[in-house]
């Protein structure tokens, strides 16, 4: 998987991870992958819901040492 851009949103509370993810995805092109790192536990469901609302695909999601990683392919 080729990552075009990484967004570090660790330590931020709702709604910041979503707002920053939105801004970051606006900066990449269709088909490219955005990596998002968050510690807000609400993001576990929020980021996939956000991706769904915009038609983007979460191609991978994992948790490592309390950090959530999302890999989102832009529609």
């Amino acid at each position: 998987m080729k990552i075009k851009k990484t967004l570090d949103a660790k330590g931020l509370a709702c709604p910041m991870p979503i707002v920053k993810t939105k801004r970051a995805i606006d900066e990449i092109n269709t088909g490219e992958v955005l990596e998002v790192l968050v510690t807000d536990k609400g993001a576990e469901n929020d980021i996939p819901a956000w991706a769904k609302s915009g038609g983007h695909t979460v191609i991978e999601q994992k948790t490592e040492e309390d950090v959530l990683y999302f890999y989102i392919q832009k529609v």
Partner: protein
């Protein structure tokens, strides 16, 4: 599916502000068109001075520490973000007249309108939320 979210902000405390602006910014970041109608105490949330000193409910002041610990953005920061994301703010004309307020008492970039302005926008919005 509607791409519009309509929000009525009718209360003026700090918790009310978070409810309104968190939902508004999240919706706008999800490519929704968002309009907020500020009425009665809700006008506090966009008032140039009042928005910097919104109060917590009586007896809940101890949550201040929790807000800081959770790294929750300050209200003026959320307001700015909402505007950057294209959220439209409408101040209720009637309430402004009652309270003796003018457009200059509010942050830049707001619109002033009446109930029908909001209803016309909200007629095909989903969801419509009231805080």
């Amino acid at each position: 599916m509607s791409k519009k979210v309509a929000i009525i902000a009718a209360n003026g405390g700090m918790f009310d502000a978070y409810k309104v602006f968190n939902i508004a910014t999240a919706a706008a970041a999800s490519d929704k068109e968002v309009q907020i109608f500020f009425t009665f105490e809700g006008l506090n949330l966009i008032h140039k001075q009042a928005m910097h000193g919104l109060e917590m409910p009586a007896g809940k002041e101890h949550f201040a520490e929790g807000f800081e610990k959770a790294n929750v953005p300050a209200i003026p920061q959320l307001v700015e973000m909402a505007q950057e994301l294209g959220v439209t703010f409408i101040a209720c004309q009637m309430t402004m007249d009652v309270m003796g307020l003018t457009k200059e008492d509010f942050i830049d970039g707001i619109e002033v309108g009446g109930a029908v302005t909001f209803l016309e926008y909200a007629k095909d919005a989903a969801p419509t939320l009231t805080f």
